[in-house]
Amino acid sequence: MKRSVLVIGAVSLVTSGLVGGAVFAQAKKYDMVTVVKITGINWFNRMEQGVKKFATDTKMNATQTGPAQADAAQQAAIIEDLIARRPAAIAVVPFSPETLEPVLKKAMDRGIVVVTHEASNQKNTMWDVEAFDNTAFGARLMDRLSKCMGGSGKYAVFVGSLTSKTHNEWADGGINRQKAAYKGMQMVATKQETYDDADKAYERAKEILRAYPDIKGFQGSASTDVAGIGRAIEEAGLAGKTCVYGTSLPSIAGKYLDTGAVDGIGFWDPADAGYVMNKVAQMVLDGKKITNGMNLGIKGYNKVSVKGKVITGQAFVDVDKSNYKQYPF
């Protein structure tokens, strides 16, 4: 979802960025800052709600900041400035994990607790929080697709690009689940690249419809995939005859969910991820251990699996026409 996050959301409010004023941590009241990829878009506005909820729940001084533009260098500069302010913990959603390695190392060297999200390959972090296992997420989308298709028929799979790690983990998770569990279904063509572009996804979907008029299902990966597929399906008048599932957000797929051109989407809730990152940071500060199977107190993170530095939840959010309005982002 890394790249698609860039293209979601609302107006970029160019905020002053850093939260002013150093707060001296009293006993156990920690200064904790969450640094996101970009401020002002819906996805991270939603994350901020989670951070604020954490602050209210725990009385910690937890705030969120980030660059006005999705830019690795700007994010690094913000963290650099933060280090000078010596917060107790920094929670980061890295735009580019590689770029942040030196500055995160510096933060840790100064005794600041560092927790990341969506960066399972980050070296200089204490813990990385992942909402779910990507393969399991892809398999789950396939389960829903298969149920909708009645377990039989042809389907096609789209990815943003063949080099996108997460997209391909989702796609392969789905394809492998189909091969193992839904033998009546068959995939047509190969994984199609859409370059995170709704129009490309549309063109690809149209072409699939031409080449395989009896196509019954689509699984998308980029947040824009289902929007493009949905448009092609709607235009072809096939909303009731095909099943479309994929990773996306209500703000992008909502109107196609309404018309039935898209049947369901899946994602994770950034508010919960923001909450859990801060929770993990607080536990480190309090000297508590994080262990396999632990309950972090948020739905989807009740029984996390811990491998190395990576904490993985089961925070799938399944959304369809009936409930997408509950997630306004």
């Binding site: 107006v11 533009q69 063949l162 190969t190 072409e207 008029p213 009896d214």
Partner: protein
């Protein structure tokens, strides 16, 4: 080199087929289209269906509008790579402005706004190229970054999926509609008329006005055009302004058809469009190119880009195949140029 004022009359002694091909580059493009279509049709006979034909026309709309602007710049010996940035700028600003000021604004008004934005940004290109005598490639690479950067930094980074009503209606309006035997609805959007209108206008300006002659003259040889008394500054302002104008319109049409205004859109697709113009017979060195040729070039590129699944080409190979077809096509054109 052919004559300063574009290609010389085709009638001048076409002693052989090859000779007539060298005189009429559109014919080469047409032959390529026929050959490619037959090949694809042999692999998958679904290529020759109403559905495929209509879909290809639909896909040609956006590429075609942009390409006609690029043609004008190429004809005058320049090149423009900023037009996609202009298109997305016009689209996004127009949509955002309309949504916040008057969501019920008529489409014509939105189109005017887009055209004005496109024209303005295009004129900036022309002005820099003329004033500072910088190669247009460099100028437009620079302005592409500036226009796109300014859009993302100052206007917004958010997707707009809730479009103004008139824009949404325009995107859904259809000219023709039919249903195939498989129960798939096929429709040609009303936006196709925009392409037709733009093509007629461009053809008229380039072929029937003094300004059009001046464009080819400047593209043929700048010093000679100056000596002949053509106002080079005016020509450059015109071609870049016109390319900007069409880019603004193309951006808006793209957004309406795509049913969203995405500020990250379009930029990156300029090479496809320039390839279409060159495959339509325009030379990057200027002084040549025609509207029918460009339209055929667009059709060729659209066929290449939209037939890979039909041909059963795996995703990893698609770029290789696209590149190979373009190389073969341009090779034929190079041969033509050498003998012409």
């Amino acid at each position: 080199m052919s004559g300063l004022l574009g290609e010389p009359a085709a009638a001048r002694a076409p002693s052989s087929t090859w000779r007539s091909l060298t005189r009429r580059p559109e014919l080469v493009t047409l032959l390529l289209i026929v050959a490619l279509s037959l090949t694809i049709g042999l692999i998958n006979d679904r290529f020759f269906s109403v559905q495929n034909g209509v879909d290809l026309l639909r896909s040609s709309i956006r590429t075609g509008i942009f390409a006609l602007g690029v043609l004008t710049v190429l004809a005058a010996g320049g090149i423009d790579v900023s037009f996609t940035a202009i298109g997305v700028f016009a689209l996004y600003v127009t949509t955002k402005l309309t949504m916040s000021v008057w969501p019920d604004a008529p489409f014509a008004l939105m189109a005017l706004a887009s055209l004005a934005i496109g024209l303005g940004l295009g004129l900036v290109n022309g002005l820099i190229v003329y004033r500072f005598r910088v190669p247009s490639l460099i100028v437009t690479i620079g302005t592409q970054y500036v226009y796109r950067g300014a859009l993302l930094a100052f206007v917004g980074t958010a997707y707009i999926t809730d479009l103004p009503r008139a824009m949404d209606a325009f995107g859904r309006a259809t000219l023709l509609q039919t249903t195939t035997a498989d129960g798939i609805r096929v429709s040609l959007p009303a936006a196709f008329l925009v392409l037709v209108a733009v093509a007629l206008l461009t053809w008229y300006v380039l072929r029937r006005t003094l300004l059009g002659r001046a464009v080819y003259a400047v593209g043929g040889s700048l010093p000679i055009a100056e000596r002949l008394g053509f106002n080079v500054g005016r020509v450059l302002l015109f071609v870049f302004g016109y390319a900007g104008l069409l880019a603004g319109l193309g951006g808006l049409v793209h957004g309406a058809m795509n049913r969203q205004a995405n500020p990250f859109d379009l930029v990156g697709s300029e090479l496809d469009i320039i390839a279409a113009v060159v495959l339509g017979g325009a030379r990057v060195t200027g002084g040549t190119g025609s509207v029918p040729g460009t339209l055929l070039g667009v059709v060729l590129v659209v066929i290449i880009n939209n037939s890979l699944i039909l041909m059963g080409v795996p995703s990893t190979w698609q770029k290789v195949v696209i590149g190979a077809i373009i190389l073969v096509a341009s090779g034929i054109f190079a041969r033509r140029s050498a003998t012409a």
